[in-house]
């Protein structure tokens, strides 16, 4: 069994256990508000970490992506998300802004 199988099955079993426990034990399971808050924030912390890593990766010259359009795309995505748009709209906003920024740069480079 490969490490990926071990990790996937162990994480799956643990995740299922976390889901099923409250439904099996009903009202006997109680988490303090502080614990509930901590659990919610911890999960989002991991995603924020991945976001930072993903952003750093695309901003590195080795990514092959131009920096300014990437920043414009991220700005558009943040704005869309702040306006409570769905994930699909947010991603499309980012991609559209990226394309728009590339076009503006290309037109600027080809200008007088």
């Amino acid at each position: 069994m490969t490490p990926v199988w071990i990790a996937v099955l162990a994480a799956g079993a643990a995740s299922y256990g976390l889901r099923v426990l409250p439904l099996l034990l009903g009202d006997r399971v109680r988490l303090s508000p502080r614990a509930q808050t901590g659990l919610r924030h911890a999960g989002m912390g991991a995603i924020t970490g991945l976001l930072v890593l993903g952003t750093v990766t695309v901003l590195r010259p080795s990514s092959g992506l131009p920096i300014v359009p990437v920043l414009v795309a991220l700005g558009a995505a943040v704005t869309s998300a702040l306006l409570r748009r769905s994930m699909l709209v947010t991603v499309l906003a980012g991609i559209t802004a990226y394309g728009g920024a590339l076009l503006v740069i290309a037109l600027g480079a080809g200008g007088p």
Partner: protein, 246 residues
Amino acid sequence: MQPTTTRTATSPELVPQPDEAAWREACAGAVAMAPLVVGYAPFGLIVGVAVSGSSDLIAAWTGTLSIYGGSAQLTLLHLLAGGVGAWAAAGAAALVNARLVVFSLALVPLFGSARLPVRLLAAAFVVEPTWVVALQRGDRPGTLSGRRWHYAGASLVLTVGWVLCVTAGLALGQVDAPVVAMVVPLCLVAVVVPHLRLPGGAAAVLAAALASLGAVAASAPAAVVPPIAMAAAAFAGVSSVREEDS
């Protein structure tokens, strides 16, 4: 109108048979879930791209159903790719999914009185979108069994849609286009930004971002960044809420 139940000679177990009203509820649940599935599609594609980069494609893809949480699966695959051990990666992924306890607790009024097989099955689909749809259905009049069929329809559509998106992302991952890498932060922005509105959410996200940037600046291995960010977010989020309360 309640779903009818039948008792057979060979099976003493009461097996719920969906009647017309139950089917209507299940279909309504499916319809309610459809826009959420469309909204989550880019995230599914990104998880699929991460699956395509795994050393064991089948195992990594299986996580789509066994872990049933894009954030946890993405964290797991990222940590494994960074050389973290299987058990440590599984522990981190389980911690990311630990928030689901909160959602599962919120569903106790819906499933707490259900038969054991129903509770075991329902638990497998507890995740943000199903929780949201269940809450919305709970705000409207109806029977308990009707609400459960609604949850079942929503869960089915989410599962099929999610698996399809991840599988499509797996195919997309084979395309060596730098722009695919750019979609990852765009998706994650859409996941993280709504968290800013929760009590303590802004402090948690800011602390996680600063901790991550610090780790990157210190040339720490990429695999340790998510656990560091988790700890920072939990501490800052809880501290912030406590300060607001006092």
